[in-house]
């Protein structure tokens, strides 16, 4: 079958550039600054000194194509590639996490570092919806990612997609994101949908019109989170920019619970999500709810 990589933030598909083994690490040295698109929980995390240290976020994305677009995450207007944006966003949430980048054109196995690994997937693998999952032949890259999620070796954070449909459904072009389907039922995958803004009890947020929703499959509902992607503040929309927030949260959780497994980190984020900050909450739309970093860090009971 034929498959193609589709950016979740744009409909454009860049020409494939094969660069084998592209993987770079970036050390974060600047002091973090709270930006207005972030949830206030993030500032609390930094105030306590927890910024994702001892964890690694690997961003698998486009770092090589000629396709760039403008946005502003609070550091000034920039013209960057898709992967450069998602990497920057995740690093801004968890500024002391070790950031690794892998071009999604490489197709090579994603390597894991020591400590907690978080893989950020702000892309999908689309094919005609008439195919079935077992007809696909995955590259070493996606095979390794799917296996990490199945075996609980890394927190795999997957942007839900921007087709405005339930995960697993065909989009308007009759295509389906098979990477979403392949991650269904795995132990350490998280799908991330986009809210129009960060929700509060006083001002509950709704799902962005473009964002895919959890749907009726309970295996997906139970691994689906939403976070605010306020395009009025950043100039960028799409679930591509929801996933890096959860990647950062997972890294910060890993800083606190230093012996937790990727599956435990995943479940903690899922089980502590809020429903009272969402407009007309229902599981088919919002899955487990809006991720809450502060609740994920809190004990169940204290006495």
């Amino acid at each position: 079958m034929t498959s193609r990589i589709q950016y979740l933030v744009t409909a454009a598909v860049a020409a494939l550039v094969l660069i084998c083994g592209v993987s770079t690490s970036i050390a974060q040295t600047t002091s973090p600054v709270f930006r207005n698109w972030m949830n206030p929980d993030v500032a609390d995390a930094w105030a306590k000194g927890y910024k994702g240290q001892r964890t690694t976020i690997t961003v698998i994305d486009d770092f090589t194509s000629g396709s760039r677009f403008t946005g502003n995450l609070g550091t000034g207007s920039l013209l960057q590639r898709h992967g450069e944006w998602t990497r920057l966003e995740a690093s801004m949430i968890a500024p002391l996490a070790t950031m690794k980048s892998q071009s999604f054109y490489s197709g090579t196995t994603v390597s894991l570092a020591t400590g907690l690994n978080v893989l950020n997937l702000s892309y999908g693998m689309y094919a005609r919806g008439t195919y079935t999952l077992n007809q696909l032949a995955w590259s070493a890259q996606e095979s390794s990612i799917i296996n990490y999620a199945k075996n609980g070796r890394a927190v795999v954070v997957k942007a839900a997609g921007n087709d405005g449909v339930a995960i697993g459904s065909n989009n308007s072009a009759g295509n389906k994101d098979f990477l979403n389907l392949a991650l269904a039922g795995t132990q350490s995958a998280i799908y991330v949908g986009a809210l129009t803004t960060n929700g509060t009890v006083a001002n509950p947020a709704g799902l962005a019109s473009y964002s895919n929703r959890a749907g009726t499959n309970t295996a997906i509902q139970s691994h689906f989170l939403v976070v605010g992607v306020d395009s009025s503040k950043t100039g960028m929309a799409g679930t591509s920019f929801a996933a890096p927030i959860i990647s950062g949260y997972a890294a910060i959780l890993g800083s606190k619970f230093t012996t937790a497994t990727p599956t435990q980190i995943t479940n903690q984020l899922l089980n502590t999500a809020r429903k009272d900050t969402l407009l007309n909450y229902n599981a088919a739309t919002y899955g487990m709810g809006e991720a809450s970093l502060s609740r994920a860090l809190a004990p169940l009971t204290i006495r």
């Binding site: 606190k256 937790a260 502060s294 609740r295 004990p299 204290i302």
Partner: protein, 196 residues
Amino acid sequence: MCLGLALGLFAAWLSPAMAQDQQVAIHLVDMAQDSELSATAAALADGWYDESAATRITGYELADGTWVPFANWYRTDWPDTRVDMLTQFGEDFGLLWGFSTGERGEKYTIDPSLRIGFVAQAHPSTNSLLSLTVRAIAWGDLNEKTCEGDYGDIGGVQTVNCRLAATFLPPEETLQYLAHAEPNRLHISLTYSASF
């Protein structure tokens, strides 16, 4: 509860003279609920100001959203109360002695203390007075208690600092920040007064 019992120099004559040529008198010098350590414990209930969030942190939410205020842990029905007595030997020397009751809240204790010292005075001239007061305090430490935090599958049950259990510190590291304070162990005062 704070009774505000600062009485100042009460100077009650509690005991008659023991011998005709050397009178020994016992005075109640002071009785008060103004312990610095009580204030320290009360401050724990006030939490801290988080500059990044521009708000005062006075509690936190558990994972299910239940609000846990610090105030319940650091309040007491009986504030630390001190009683200072003076046993006077002659005109210019007295033994200071006393105690404090200590204080107890759900998550802290202030131990009772023993207070002992002396006051001596001299008269450099007919209208002046030089006075030396020395007082030592034994025990009376403030110690914050720990909590048992249940972090579920991700972290299990861990002994933690109650106030910091929901912060971004690893649970075991929160124990480094348990409050501990000691009273001012030694107080020395030298005063000179003259009347014109």
